[in-house]
């Protein structure tokens, strides 16, 4: 039998210290992303020229400590990072979810329909995958009015094809199983067969895949922000913070470097967390990825 049952909870909780650390960072990222704006008060429009370009750990005039320094207009970098985590979190999760949902629909449709429909849909997937996804994102972003929603959709467009490919492969393999044929023979509706027989096979592989997608999307969102194509100016994102520090690398390295480090930590942590998922849940499914 295939590994369709979950391992015991105890086995799932046994983690190496680095894995714990990674999961803690992911949890911290989620908490900060959700609650960040309530934890710190930060006004992206406020400027304080007296406090501009202060290095990390400087005590400011108002008594607070700028842990990550301040930027060219005197805003606290740490607060910006905390504030911007929300954008990364929302964009990352929503885009990954939209991409996964769309990829599942296309992939299952192709796998189910077979023949020409399948070839047609999969050629589109192949063509899309032939282009670097950041290129597609930049291209689309150049034409579309920047907004949170448009960034989410643009990034989802760049990532659905991978999901569709995996979903199609799993669907085609599942369709050959006798239990699916038995359901077809007994006249069950297509929707019920998809829901009861096919979708359950997709969850675990796609959860693992989604964790990989999530870090790619967070990186892509930061890249778009860096290029000025991302979220609107009044929505501070990590990419924008780095972009704003680009011109001060020589005299204020922290503005671009420290938020960059935060992105690295988050992306690596999500990667490790995905790896934990893959090892705990993915016995027998990694071949599909």
């Amino acid at each position: 039998m295939t590994a369709t049952t979950l391992p015991s909870p105890k086995a799932m909780l046994r983690l190496a210290p680095t894995e714990m650390l990674a999961l803690a960072f992911v949890a911290l990222f989620v908490v900060v992303g959700v609650a960040g704006p309530y934890l710190v008060d930060f006004n992206p429009a406020a400027t304080d020229t007296a406090a501009r370009l202060k290095p990390p750990f400087t005590t400011l005039a108002n008594g607070s400590i700028a842990w990550l320094g301040t930027d060219a207009v005197g805003r606290d970098v740490a607060r910006q990072v905390i504030y911007g985590a929300r954008v990364s979190l929302v964009v990352g999760f929503t885009s990954a979810a939209v991409a996964t949902a769309f990829g599942i629909v296309i992939g299952v449709w192709a796998g189910w329909a077979g023949r020409r429909t399948e070839q047609f849909l999969m050629r589109i997937v192949d063509i899309q995958l032939a282009f670097p996804s950041i290129l597609i994102a930049v291209f689309l972003a150049a034409f579309i009015q920047p907004s949170l929603l448009s960034v989410i959709l643009i990034l989802a467009v760049t990532r659905w094809a991978v999901v569709a490919r995996v979903a199609r492969a799993i669907t085609a393999r599942t369709l050959a199983k006798s239990y699916v044929e038995a359901a077809i023979i007994s006249g069950e509706s297509t929707w019920r067969i998809v829901r009861d027989c096919i979708l359950p096979n997709l969850w675990i592989p796609l959860l693992i895949l989604m964790s990989a997608e999530l870090s790619l999307i967070i990186l892509a969102e930061a890249s778009l922000g860096f290029l000025g194509l991302g979220t609107p100016i009044d929505v501070p994102s990590w990419g924008r913070i780095i972009a704003s520090g680009r011109n001060y690398l020589a005299n204020a390295w922290w503005i671009a470097t420290l938020p960059g480090l935060v992105i690295v930590i988050v992306v690596v942590s999500i990667g490790v967390a995905g790896e934990v998922l893959r090892r705990r849940l993915g016995r027998g499914v990694s071949a599909a990825l």
């Binding site: 039998m1 020409r116 070839q119 199983k177 239990y179 044929e181 038995a182 023979i185 006249g187 009861d196």
Partner: protein
């Protein structure tokens, strides 16, 4: 006796993918096949690998579209392109049992859900606890199986459960594609005994196998297939004893273990023979 299930001049070919699918020539997998089976009878089908045995069963139940010829159930032609409601009698009356016990039950559902769904689809839907238990008793299992999932059963148990699902809608025809070849000999004997009981209840079988030894025991009629054609049909024992076609003779000669396997099965069955008390009831 009139046939409960009959196929007339059935032709079917698998499309071979050309550069663009659908443009390739078809591999002829069924070539003018006409066969029938009466209630309470077993039609055995033998033939070498690739001779079209599975294709025949899959075409009958509607898994292969684009065939020509007629499939009749209780005298009426079946239209697999019709909406499920219009072929409800066929769907309930003709059930299939697959070769791989491991794959024939949905691994994500408990046995209770699988069997309840099957009962709910039957012509007279009742899915109470009693019906579920009665179904399991028919295949020699009990209610303790209900809340478990397929991964918790052995191959022989899974095949029994698959048979239980097939029996849920009280079918008159069971199509079996190598139902015992994944099982070891003593389990095979148990399953064959179960089939024997279902046969005595008046159900018809089309029984596909490589194993002529198995057919010699269970089949009334044997059809020999070769490259999509039925090359010989006849009463089981006669056909094995005095094959008319060279191909059939070769097939029998090529089963050197036929006698041996048959003997093993016979031995296993004798051990399993019902006790006098059971036989009396």
């Amino acid at each position: 006796m009139t046939a409960v299930l009959a196929v007339e001049h059935l032709n079917f070919g698998y499309p071979i993918g050309g550069l663009i699918s659908g443009t390739g020539v078809a591999v002829k997998a069924l070539d003018d096949v006409s066969l029938s089976v009466e209630p309470g009878r077993v039609l055995g089908i033998v033939g070498e690998s690739g001779s079209g045995k599975s294709t025949l069963l899959r075409t009958i139940v509607g898994l292969n579209r684009g065939y020509t010829g007629t499939i009749r159930y209780r005298g009426e032609a079946v239209d697999h392109a019709a909406r499920p409601a219009r072929r409800a009698a066929f769907v309930a009356g003709v059930q299939m049992i697959f070769q791989d016990p491991g794959g024939s039950l949905n691994p994500f559902k408990t046995i209770r859900r699988t069997l309840s769904a099957a009962l709910a689809r039957s012509p007279s839907p009742r899915a109470g606890a009693e019906e579920l238990e009665a179904l399991l008793h028919q295949v020699g299992m009990n209610a303790s199986a209900l809340d478990r999932r397929p991964s918790e059963f052995s191959g022989g148990q899974l095949q029994r459960l698959a048979i239980a699902r097939a029996l849920a809608c009280d079918p008159s025809v069971l199509l079996c594609d190598e139902p015992t070849s994944a099982l070891d000999v003593s389990i095979q004997a148990q399953i064959l005994d179960l089939f024997g009981r279902l046969k005595r209840e008046g159900r018809a079988f089309i029984f596909v196998t490589h194993n002529l030894g198995v057919l010699g025991h269970i089949a009334d009629t044997i059809a020999v297939m070769h490259r999509g054609r039925v090359v010989e049909v006849g009463p089981a024992r006669e056909l094995i004893a005095t094959p008319q076609q060279a191909y059939t003779a070769a097939l029998i000669a090529a089963s050197p273990r036929l006698k041996h396997r048959g003997a093993l099965l016979e031995h296993a069955r004798r051990r399993l023979a019902p006790t006098p008390a059971e036989a009396a009831s």
